[in-house]
Subunit: 350 residues, 2 copies
Amino acid sequence: MVDYVVYGRGCFSQLDEIIAPRRKETRPMIFLIDHFFTGKPLVNRIPIRGTDKIIFADVTYEPKTSQVDKLAQQLKDEFGSISGIIGIGGGSTMDLAKAVSLMMTNPGSSADYQGWDLVKKPGVYKAGIPTLSGTGAEVSRTTVLTGPTRKLGMNSDFTPFDQIMLDPELTTHAPANQRFYTGMDCYIHCIESLQGTYLNEFSKSYGEKALALCQHIFLEKEIWDDECDDKLMMASYAGGMSIAYSQVGVAHAVSYGLSYLLGTKHGIGNCIVMNHLEEYYPEGVREFKQMVTRNRIDIPTGITAGLTDDQFDAMINVSLGMKPLWENALGKEWEKRMTRQKLRELYEKL
Amino acid sequence: MVDYVVYGRGCFSQLDEIIAPRRKETRPMIFLIDHFFTGKPLVNRIPIRGTDKIIFADVTYEPKTSQVDKLAQQLKDEFGSISGIIGIGGGSTMDLAKAVSLMMTNPGSSADYQGWDLVKKPGVYKAGIPTLSGTGAEVSRTTVLTGPTRKLGMNSDFTPFDQIMLDPELTTHAPANQRFYTGMDCYIHCIESLQGTYLNEFSKSYGEKALALCQHIFLEKEIWDDECDDKLMMASYAGGMSIAYSQVGVAHAVSYGLSYLLGTKHGIGNCIVMNHLEEYYPEGVREFKQMVTRNRIDIPTGITAGLTDDQFDAMINVSLGMKPLWENALGKEWEKRMTRQKLRELYEKL
């Protein structure tokens, strides 16, 4: 679990005070912030001291192991060691910050640690400050990274942040489409996990709460106001916590294939897939479509048009490799229900 | 926050494996278990190794600072230092284990640390394994202790457990009355915090979930089954988490007076008071009474009959000293609404 959690509108102002005891002699704090904030007022609120450094993270694409390795190497070259790293941004920035923290102390490449419990040493101090709500990356035990051979996280006891600051004010200026896609990551996660075959009361409680918050925000509220930002940040947190004893399902498994081949970002990829999953989640897809209409969002279509057989095969291979997701969604006999042919037909619809 | 959380029916069997990496050379693990379990099968499942010791904790009364100091001194005299302490029991045992862990490394008496952030050193490794659900003590940042001059916790960043194991199976054999009173501690907490003036979306989300779980268990279920134990354990956890940014109210403030003077235990004390709080929590009290009836529980009455004026005054003094609780319940002008006379009349009804 994350050791320290602060939640509250405006709590970003406490950052200087909160990280003060974590500063080590002359070693800098590194603020890794989503490049979306270049030139924006938030940058001026970062509590820079001494040799601290702000790095704008290019999260046009989701984090790659090569990007993590490069960032960690740059920091080692420039500073030797650092006091800690503070990630400020969406899920990609959260994951980058976690991974770079770990690679400041663990040898080799981050690709060596894609898997479960391969990380052997704690990283440097790391804090996460989300500016988008939905992925739950702020509380997860993983960092999703695209490596040379796979898209898989560094899952370990050392991966969660030491501190997170949940300040819903920071999400106010997110573009409405982006906010929706990221929010839907949470909603879709809930549908997949609550209908899955892996679940216990711990994850169910968190999943139900996250779902209820999403339903309130995206189906009941007439306008987007502070309450929506407050609640969506809690939905993201609860959705992230629910991962502990649950698993995602068809939307994520199919979306991973899109992401691997086409670089489709996680939130929007899940939406593109969810749009066509009536067979697996009839009630959830009906509600999802209501949310799309009500919030006047365009879900892209036709993104797989013109792909070659080899390209379809590549997506199918990545997707079918996500065995726990399929088993959670369709049970132990999932391979009988989701054949390569059937998955190909699904990809062709997207 | 608690660093590691395991939830699952039967997970107690993993205890040996989970604490193995925390064992330090020849120093023992101490298992502090509620004396209720003396001679019961659970004791035989405790993974004793080397010089490990089982101590049966007398929790007839709620923990006192003198009891904490004595236990810590005994352990120091016998072992010098220990690997850690594992609390197995209800809220009192949880609080005892947390406090003894802290007093193994912090000098002086636990009474010196009653307050906020007075504890300066981490304690020894500590794990909590609840066998009753409701108090939320397993996740709280405090340990409620009765000291020479006050009933107040050791609130600090070092107070939460390093590990908790939430195994609903352990609560199966709790006496029905005890289970109800402890469950109601959670329910009453939710009513008080959700209707209070201190609250944010973090605590609201957790409080609402805990409340919904209690309502399901105590109002909808026809019989008490495993699902009730599973859900009540999550309600306790969620209720405990909701404390972060909320506060309890009238029931707790009045109940603290009973506890101080008469030694009334926390759960039952809250029920005795809640029974008479229609003026403050009309909807909650109506529902509480439904729960009492439906679950065929007797709530004691007449417990303050025959007390002297001095005794009433003592309770009133303790109760009115809980300023944040009153302010949360009745607002900044609470002293105008809750006078000594009015509180006396309330105590006389109990």
